[in-house]
Amino acid sequence: MKLSGAQAIVKALELEGVEVIFGYPGAAICPFYDALQESNIRHILTRHEQGAAHAASGYARATGKTGVCVATSGPGATNLITGIADAYMDSTPLVAITGQVSSDLIGRDVFQEADITGATDPFCKHNYLVKNTKDLPRILKEAFYIASTGRPGPVLIDVPIDVQIGSVNFEYPKSVDIKGYKPNYKGHSIQIKKIAEAILRAKKPVICAGGGVINSNASKELVELAEKCGIPVVTTMMGIGSIPYDHELNLGMLGSYGVYTANYAVHNADLLIITGARVADRAINNPDQIARKAEIVHIDIDPAEIGKNIQVSIPVVGDIKGVLKELVDIVQRGDVDEWGRIIKEKKEEHPPKFPEMKSGTGYVNPKYVLKVLTGLLREDDIVTTEVGQNQIWSSNYLGIRKPRTFITSGGLGTMGYGFPAAVGAKVGCPGSRVICISGDGSFQMTMQELGTIKQSRLGVKVLMFNNTRLGMVRELQKLKYGCRYYQVHLDENPDFIKLFEAYGFKGRRIDDNSQVEEALKEMLSDDGVYLLECRVDPEESTL
C-alpha cells in the first residue's frame, strides 16, 4: 500500500488502536491534519498545546491506554514541553507528534524552527527526529511500544513536513526489535522468596505503594498481600487509589504533606516494602535514617530507581503485579498483632483534623467540603486536582476508592494540569463523572480549555477553592519567611461564575458551610459543565 508519510502516521495510529488525539494544528503539521480528516480517529482541539499534552496524560491515566497529542513545529512543539515533562515525572504513557520544518532547512533557524528533540531529551523516555518517510511505520510502532511498556513515559516523534509529504510503501511491523530496550517484567523468584522470609521475620512491616502499583494494575494484589499478612499500607500521592481509602489497613499518604499515622508507621517500621515508588523527597526526606532502622525491600520495573534514593537490602526488578502475585502465593503472616494494635491506636489518636463547623464566617471549609464530597462520590467518578493547598487537601481529605480515579500532578507539581487532565479523563471515560478540584491560581493557568469542553461537549465539573491567594506559597511565606507576603495575592481574580457563563456554562458560588451538601448535590446531578466556587479563608492551613 502506497501512502504519504502523513497517511502512514494516521494508519499507524489506527493500527495502534488510538481512538482519540488531542492537538492543535499549524503549518508544519498540516499534511498530517489533512490525512487525519479521512480517519475515524477523534480529534479534540484544545486551546493551547500544553492543554493537549495534559489532556492526553489525563486520558492515559484514567484509561490505562497511551495518550496521544499533536502540535506544529516551533512554538506549538515548545508549548508541549511542560506536559511532556509532567508525564515523564509521573511515568505516564504518551506519544507526542510534532511537525517540523523541512529537513533541508533544519539548522538554519527558519520560521518556526525549534530543536524539539534536543529540548525534550531530558524529559522523554525516547524521541525521534524522522529522517525518511520509509522509517515512519517502524518509528511509530517503536514509539507506542516504548511509551507503554516497562516503566511508561512520553515518547516524542518530530516529523519534518517533507517527510509527511513523501511516500512510503506502508507495511506495519508486527513486532519491535530494539537492541537497547528490553524491559524486564518477571521478578526474580529467589528475591521474591527473600521478601516472603523478611515478612515472616518482621514484627513491624509497612508497605509503601506508589504510582507504579496503579500503572501495573496491581491494586488487587497489593490489597491481597496486605490482608493476608496484616501489613499496613501507606501511599505516596501517586499511589492514592491503589488501596481503598477506607480500608482498615490503609494509613493514608506519607511525607511532608502526609498524615501522622502514615509517617509514624514508616519511621518505626522494621521492614519497609516499597512498591512502584521513587522515594523522592516529598514522600521520604530522610531515607538514610529510615534505612538504618528497617530492612528495605524495593520492587520496581525500573532498575535505575532501586538504590537511587535509599539503600535497599532486597531489590526486585519486575512488573509489580506479577511480583506481588507470586509473593502472595508463597508468603505467610508474621507475628504482627502487636504492631497492628499500635497502628490502630495511633490512627485513633490522630484522626483527620476537621475543624469545628461554623456558619456565618463568609467562608466554606475545604476539608469539610471534601469530606461531604466523599460521601456523594460514586466509585467510578474521577477526580483530578490542581497544585497547591487544593491538591494536598484533596490527597488527605477526599476518599478515593479505586485506582485511576485520582489524577494529579505528583512529580512535577504542575499548576494548570488538573483542568486539561479532566478534559482527557472525560474523553476517555465518558460514563464517569469527572470533577476537577481547582485553586483560583492554578485554574487561571489553563482556563482557556473552557473553550475545549464547550466545543467537544465534555461535561467536566470544576470544584474551585477560591482563597484569592496562591495559598500554598502564601503559607510558605507565613511559616518560613516571617509572614512577608509578596506576590501571592489574587484579589483581582475575575468573576469565575461570569466567566463560565460567558461560555454558556452554569456556576454557583457558596460561602457558608451550611450550603455545602446541597450545592455539591446540585453540581453532581447536573449533567453539563458546572463550576462550584467555594470561598475559602486565605488563612486555612494545608494540613
Binding site: 531529551d121 531530558p122 525516547h126 537492541k179 537497547g180 532498575p303 535505575a304
Partner: protein, 170 residues
Amino acid sequence: MGKHTLSVLVENQAGVLSRIAGLFSRRGFNIDSLAVGVTENPEISRMTIVVDGDQYIVEQVTKQLNKLVDVIKIKELDDSESVRRELVLIKVEANASTRSEIIQIVEIFRANIIDVSKNTLTIEISGDTEKIAALEDMLKQFGIKEIVRTGTIAIERGNKVIKIKNSDEE
C-alpha cells in the same frame, strides 16, 4: 572516589552523543574523558567513558545510561584485565640548546616527533594515563604550548570481547 572505565555500545546514530553528554551533566556525574568511534559493526559505536566517582556513582551512571534506548550494552572494565591507551599530541617550546635534550626524553618514552619548527617540537605519544602524565611532567620545564588528547580507549585482555546479542561470549 576513583576512576572507572566504562565501555558502552550505542547505536551509531545522530543525537546519541548529545543524549549521553546531556545525561551526565543533568545528573551531575563527572566525566574524565569520553572517546567514541564506530565498531567492527558499522551500526554500532563504542564509547569509552572514564568516570570519576565512587561505587554508588558508577552504579547510577550505568543504570541511567542503560535507560537510554540508544544504549545497547555497558561494561565496566577492570583495571587489571584490560588495556587502556590514550593518544596525545604535545607542542613544546624548543630551541637550539634544548632540542636535543627533548629528543632524548622523547626516545626514552618511545614517543615520536611528528613536527618540527624553529622554536617548537610536536610530540606524539600513546600510552596509559601514567605514562603520559610522566612525559608531560618531563616536558613542562621546556614550556608546553599546547596539548591535545583523544581521551582514553580501552579493550579487554585475552579472548574476551564486548558484543551485542550473545552476551555469554563475554
